[in-house]
Symmetry: D2
Subunit: 348 residues, 4 copies
């Protein structure tokens, strides 16, 4: 089969025309990938940044967000049939620990991630444990099902924070920040405010339902955001940028008693003014990682089926797997938001 | 009347033998103070640190934790009678804002604090709004009622975090940290672990029910704490020290999915490793300020009346108001934990 | 002044052209009523049913939902000015008990209700405690401000249950049920299902955003509702009818693990199959009463200002106070939903 | 092997000296049972009441609470080793539905229960899915591990209701009610009140930490319970009796804003005064079923290891499997609370 692999400890990925189809164990499922999304994490691996170099093994097949069809199942698989259209939760928990056994496998200490710790989905076939299979509802198109992983990140953040009837500030209008805008709107948010450095992203955020947007380099935006929310600040902060300054400004803007959900990953320690930003304010801060297994998946399915999410404007480019280089470059330039790759099918 | 005032912008307080009894407005209550506790905040004002110099007006009567008897009420006071024994919530909210009108006056943006922003309780009389009056149950002795304010800080922290059946790490065994030990025990905590730099405090923590204690300067304590809690770390962190290193180590020790309640006030920004300490772990962080009005007071009353708290070992010294200098010095030396002052009564 | 009073223990109300303007105490506010809504409770009093006869004193001025202007304040009033446009929370708590002191005055055991236990708002003037005053935002029109009380019942129910991203069944499309439809929609509900006996109400429910409606006398509706919600049943039940059969059917339809919020008041004991309807299902049931003080009011204001509620179709009739008889008859016939009365102003 | 089976549709069970050892599938585990508890459900089947006759198939091996050792594993078993000492969650979910995939398998609509729907543990061997295996901590003795199933019922009820710092009323001092007493005490409850018809049970409840007990047939007990809890009623009701009168009285006693957790199963519909018992009071009612998978198991392990539970007085009798008839009769007479049976080991 074909696969996109990290073959050298440097920038780039290699398109391999002939690699072995992965084996499956008795509880595993073999999925023929049809569409896969490029994630910011994939871009880190493509660019081979410090994090990638420290974690990702050379030789791995990259990619973790996708949709496909089941083509084979292990002999102890009980609930998955050949032919099913499926997406896959990319966090593979140990199955033994307290988080794994209480519906919190997303915070398993021994989690393996597809395309990071073991072979991923930028390939014609992928082998995954049956437990990670998510059957895709027939009314959900392939290119949407392919991005349920990042949609789930945004969904987990929005639903954990609780936006219904509350004003919401989203710092960072990247893929997940923009998904959070449309989810927050559908989930009943009050005023939605968005910050980003790129005016094109802010324009798109408004199109997706943001009421107010601010240039992230305007030092006055926290004051403006407070003014726009009854002079008290937004009740919810969804931090999607990972930028230390945005994090600090987000806390400054946040209302007393508010909730901050942190998803963006700063690459350095962030100095926080704990008394003024968190303690005196009586703020609740939530660390958000992955997707709740599998509550988040049910929520994503339900919102997508409701027709109340606008995801099409976020999926800006659809390319062939072989065109992956263009995909990464479009992301680097900021021209693309979400790129979905079509994977060539056997016999085509 | 006599009063203890800050009369000069330098260390120390002045015992004033003859100041005017405060006036009361139509909705105010005049309380004859009988016993008052010395708080860490009072010590900051006594020592005139940077925070005090920036906030506290010269001429103020200090002190905010006390018990006394009502001696006069304004003509629009409806629910308080002369003669009642009362304690007082020291945070005086604006009464108009959303926090004040939803049971969250402790995070009112315009809060005035007794003994910090307006005249406090180190005096024979104090005037307070009726709304801040807390009638003291007859079974609660004076020296315990006098410390309901700091007890309420500890209670708010413990109850907000939720310790029932969970392992609890308390970083910092000062007054409030020690109160948190006995409250956590009574509130159903599992294993209770405590850190401090002072071995005497750790000894007292064990006496109050801590299962394990660690010297805060042992760099291995987070690893030991994780080992002692099923190799996963404690489920709850109650941060009572305000020390940047303790805060960081506390987050390192904390279990994935755990809850951190921050009460201690660092005097400088704290650099946090947000991805590893909060985000990947899926941690919930709660900023804790004051006491919930008045849920925390009901909880404190209920726990005290249950007989399940050990507060006597924490109230180490009982002095006369005039001996305040000894009280502060005992606190500075670490020999005292909580000092309660008896206030001379009119006619005595 | 003019007032609408219950003067005899029988059906009907009396328009009194000359009664004394109420006195105000030092903490009270005198409000000149401009618009008042007729509530189902008022209709019970008008019809003098068993409940009214057992509770309401003869001679009382009826009515409790209204808007007006402050014309006088007691000498200890601190935060309300003459001239302010205000609505009023009609539940007057004792102010002393645990619920009253923790933001839960709506469940005070000694609550007095305007127009039920003391003189209400169907009059030119009403005296209320300052604590119950709600300043009305200038962007909210009078006829909407006049119905903040029932809107608050619906808001409290919807927000307590939590509808964001969840399927919601509303049994009973009366005033509050219909308000709940538009609130649930704005608060981010998934599929909204509504039952009622009156097809006109179901038509209006669909106009307000209900996805599916069922005739309450169709015995198959619970099965249909389950079918329409992934064969599992709706995740939330908002019981607004008070009919025993609707309550039982609502529980039958409800999903395992779902939430039922009960607001409708059955007039007789309801026999429930606790094992199958609540226990095996792992259901959470919430008793809903009044409005949270004052969290619900902030939520109502925020939703109204967002422009996302459709309240105009629910306010079907606007009459003069003197036309109250027509108003009650329109409600009895089912032709009216909410009737708002204009109160004549002094000097007009 | 030997097994205790229901062989005829009438009262009694049959001790079968020679039945086939159950087969295991690829994901199943074969456990050699060493100790098993007799549950109230087993007694219903023994007595062959209406519920049993309607659900339990003739020929089934009864029993579902036990401890044993793994003697064989299927070829796709991944996390369980031969030789491990284990207990087993007796609710076998479908694994496919939303509850099963979100940590809520206890409310799976298609749940199979050991000893009710498929062969249970009153036998030398039992076959169960690996997912239901609970490894027993070495510090927990066999007779305690054998009753983790009912302990889990009590734990789930207590922890769902939330007792820390709250007054707790337990109606019904049977096995689970008594376990709830010691758990509530360890979990930080305030005043604990217990009702039952049997004075011996009330005596034992006091021994386990109940502060006050009431004869269930004293019609004044709800008033007494309210009086004992600040005249407001207990904050939490744990309903363990399933008796309609106890349920109604429990709601009457419960404090406004309180929480009622219902575990006891009434055998007939219960007529509730919804307005006065639930709606006006603003009560939260929780239906409790089984154990949360597997959060409850972790909680039970943690409490047992803490040494803070008193379970020995509840396990009143230890018999041999062959003495099952005596066991059931001891339960019927009220002389026994929990009976644990020792199962003969192969080769013994």
């Amino acid at each position: 089969m074909v696969a996109l692999k990290k073959t050298k400890p440097e920038a780039g990925l290699t398109f391999m025309p002939e690699v072995a189809v992965p084996a499956i164990g008795p509880r595993d499922v073999l999925v023929a990938v049809t569409h896969a999304g490029i994630c910011g994490t994939d871009r880190h691996i493509y660019e081979w940044d410090a994090w990638s170099a420290s974690r990702v093994p050379i030789g791995i097949t990259v990619g973790h967000e996708f949709v496909g069809r089941v083509v084979a199942v292990g002999n102890a698989v009980m609930r998955t049939q050949v032919g099913e259209r499926v997406s896959v939760e990319g966090h593979i928990g140990c199955g033994l620990c307290e988080p794994c056994r209480t519906g919190n496998g997303h915070i398993c200490e021994k989690v393996d991630i597809l395309g990071v710790d073991r072979d991923g989905c930028f390939a014609q076939y992928i082998s995954v444990p049956e437990e990670n299979i998510w059957p895709v509802h027939p009314d959900i198109p392939d290119h949407i099902a392919a991005v349920f992983d990042p949609l789930g990140n945004a969904m987990h953040t929005v639903m954990a924070a609780g936006v219904s009837g509350r004003s919401v500030l989203i710092t960072g209008a990247g893929i997940i920040g923009l998904m959070a805008v449309t989810i927050a709107r559908a989930a009943g948010a009050g005023t939605v405010l968005v910050t980003d450095v790129d005016p094109r992203r802010l324009e798109l955020a408004r199109q997706l339902g943001a009421d107010l947007t601010y240039a992230a380099d305007d030092p006055e935006w926290p004051a403006k955001a407070r003014h726009a929310t009854h002079e008290q600040g937004p009740q919810v902060l969804l931090e999607m940028s990972g930028h230390p300054r945005a994090i600090r400004q987000g806390f400054q803007a946040l209302r007393n008693g508010g909730t901050a959900a942190l998803l963006g990953l700063p690459s350095e320690p962030v100095a926080l003014d704990l008394p003024n930003d968190i303690i005196f304010k009586g703020v609740t801060v939530l660390g958000i990682n992955g997707r709740r297994m599998y509550q988040t998946w049910y929520q994503s399915e339900s919102f997508v089926l409701s027709g109340r999410l606008q995801l099409e404007p976020i999926i800006t480019h659809r390319l062939q797997l072989q065109e992956f280089d263009s995909g990464f470059k479009l992301m680097q330039s900021g021209d693309a938001i979400k790129v979905v790759l079509s994977v060539p099918q056997e016999g085509n």
